[in-house]
């Protein structure tokens, strides 16, 4: 709650400058407070079985349009999710963006990684109906690793003619870092290996999305190659270079939205603890389908189904799958304030659960109520 108080003070001060610009400089931000209650198990490192408010997030960004072609900016991010995150301020992105023309531009620095429908925007709560995005593809306890990379990207679009739509593209290369205050590191720490420096690895990939001639229909594909390594006192982590991909489509028409995505990530993780080497094979297959409708200007409702399995292991075991049926509602009080509420009917324990907050084991099924209030400017 001290974190929340600090964020509110900063945002209240900045909100007196309501998203205005001073000769090209813009300030924006948002802050959210969440609540999660679960019928069984403790979810996302929070004590959710007794109801938890340990989910607070704040973002503040500054950008400056220096010339017609050049823009620079930085975004700071602070979050607390149960035992994850904390008072440390993280740089979400910090980049220079040089746009040669409408067909080609370059960004360099720490840039958000475009992958699938929502990877680069998964931490922008204000734009979503969903309190939690499909956890099979966008796990909130591990969003930092895939969210951005240190490097550069080329982006733009290619018009394909009036009858063929247009193609948007992004190609990038750089380094990804595994944040020390997120879920992967916590799980490794629970296994007995504590990192003091962020494991990292080279990454490169891209995204192609076709805005089809059918108004509102978009289809896309995002390939990515990455690896990861790091050493800690008493051991090391190695994930040899692997290929992952996301295929997706969305359709928007007026107040309707439909979206779907299929992700594939086969990789091997080698954890060395002293003389002992532990091998974790993973062949993650994830998909979701979602739909929503805006019933009034202020009220939106929707649903999704999220499906995850680890094909490298016995998929009949609850620890190797996670199937989540979700009902969501969002109410916008005005352009700045909103509230969300969401019901999860979760089957399987493959995602979002930690031994440290579930010392007595896990039950296969749990119903979860997640709610959030947010302010964005």
């Amino acid at each position: 709650m001290r974190l929340l108080a600090s964020i509110i003070i900063v945002f209240t001060a900045v909100a007196s400058l309501p998203a205005q610009d001073f000769a090209g400089i813009q300030f924006h931000g948002f802050v959210t407070q969440g609540f999660v209650f679960s019928s069984h198990n403790n979810y996302l490192t929070m004590q959710t079985s007794s109801g938890s408010l340990q989910w607070t997030e704040g973002v503040f960004s500054v950008s400056d349009t220096i010339s017609d072609n050049l823009r620079v900016g930085i975004q700071l991010h602070m979050f607390q999710l149960g035992q994850l995150g904390g008072p440390n301020i993280r740089v979400d992105w910090a980049s220079g963006d040089y746009r040669i023309n409408d067909y080609l531009g370059f960004r360099g620095g720490k840039v958000k990684t475009v992958m699938g429908l929502f990877n680069d925007s998964q931490d922008v709560d204000a734009i979503f109906l969903w309190t939690l995005l499909p956890q099979c593809s966008y796990p909130v306890d591990n969003e930092g690793f895939f969210l951005s990379h240190l490097g550069g990207e080329a982006y733009g679009y290619i018009p394909l003619g009036k009858r063929s739509g247009k193609l948007r593209y992004v190609g990038y290369a750089g380094y990804s870092y595994l944040p020390l205050d997120e879920g992967y590191i916590k799980q490794i720490s629970d296994a007995g290996l504590t990192f003091t420096n962020e494991p990292s690895g080279k990454t490169y990939g891209g995204d192609l999305r076709w805005e089809t001639p059918l108004k509102g229909l978009l289809v896309g594909y995002s390939p990515m190659v990455l690896g990861l390594s790091g050493t800690a006192p008493g051991g090391s982590l190695l994930v040899p270079t692997f290929f992952m991909s996301a295929s997706y489509a969305q359709f928007t028409r007026g107040k309707f939205y439909l979206g779907t995505e299929y992700d594939k990530a086969p990789y091997n993780e080698f954890l060395t603890l002293g003389q002992q080497q532990i091998y974790f094979p993973t062949d993650a297959r994830a998909w979701y389908v979602m739909g929503s409708y805006r019933l009034t200007k202020r009220f939106q409702a929707g649903s999704y189904y999220s499906h995850y399995i680890n094909k490298a292991l016995d998929t009949s075991l609850p620890a190797n799958y996670s199937k989540d049926f979700v009902l969501s509602e969002r109410y916008d009080f005005n352009s700045y304030f909103y509230a969300k509420i969401e019901d999860h009917f979760l089957h399987g324990t493959g995602l979002g659960y930690y031994q440290s907050t579930n010392p007595n084991g896990l039950q296969t099924n749990s119903n979860i109520l997640a709610a959030k209030i947010g302010f964005s400017f």
């Binding site: 998203a19 610009d21 090209g24 813009q26 924006h28 948002f30 973002v59 960004s61 950008s63 349009t65 017609d68 823009r71 900016g73 975004q75 992105w93 980049s95 963006d97 746009r99 023309n101 409408d102 960004r107 840039v111 958000k112 680069d120 925007s121 931490d123 922008v124 204000a126 734009i127 679009y157 108004k215 509102g216 928007t252 007026g254 107040k255 805006r294 200007k297 939106q300 916008d332 352009s335 964005s376």
Partner: protein
């Protein structure tokens, strides 16, 4: 030109009038270019000159513009820009409470383009005819 402006003094309830700084060389603009400029996809007019889109914060003209030219609801339009801002991919167009303030800014800003429900013949801006 004045006669044209006088004729274009008020849009019907189903449409808006596009106004631009007088240094904007194009006199007509396609609906797809309008959408691309106001959603941040394009930053230039068809002649290659830099475009500076400006918007209204709300109201009937904003709703008509978003619906007719961006094919979105105002809420979707706002969400798309928020996405661009918070992913580092764009800067929000300057937004105005009133049409008169928008017109004054467009008149004073090179490359600026905006939309209003009506414009007086004396306004120091040019109007752009959208090609549908």
């Amino acid at each position: 030109m004045l006669a044209f402006l006088a004729c274009a003094g008020a849009a019907n309830a189903q449409d808006v009038i596009f106004v631009a700084n007088r240094d904007v060389q194009v006199s007509a603009i396609s609906a797809s270019d309008l959408r691309a400029i106001f959603t941040g996809e394009k930053t230039r007019f068809a002649d290659g000159s830099h475009a500076v889109p400006v918007i209204l914060k709300g109201g009937p003209a904003h709703e008509v513009f978003v619906k007719n030219y961006c094919r979105e609801t105002p809420e979707e339009f706002r969400a798309q820009w928020r996405k661009a801002i918070f992913t580092g991919q764009g800067a929000m167009p300057r937004a105005f409470d009133s049409e008169s303030a928008l017109i004054a800014y467009v008149a004073a800003t090179s490359g600026a383009i905006g939309y209003v429900s009506r414009v007086s013949s004396a306004a120091s801006v040019k109007t752009l005819a959208p090609e549908k």
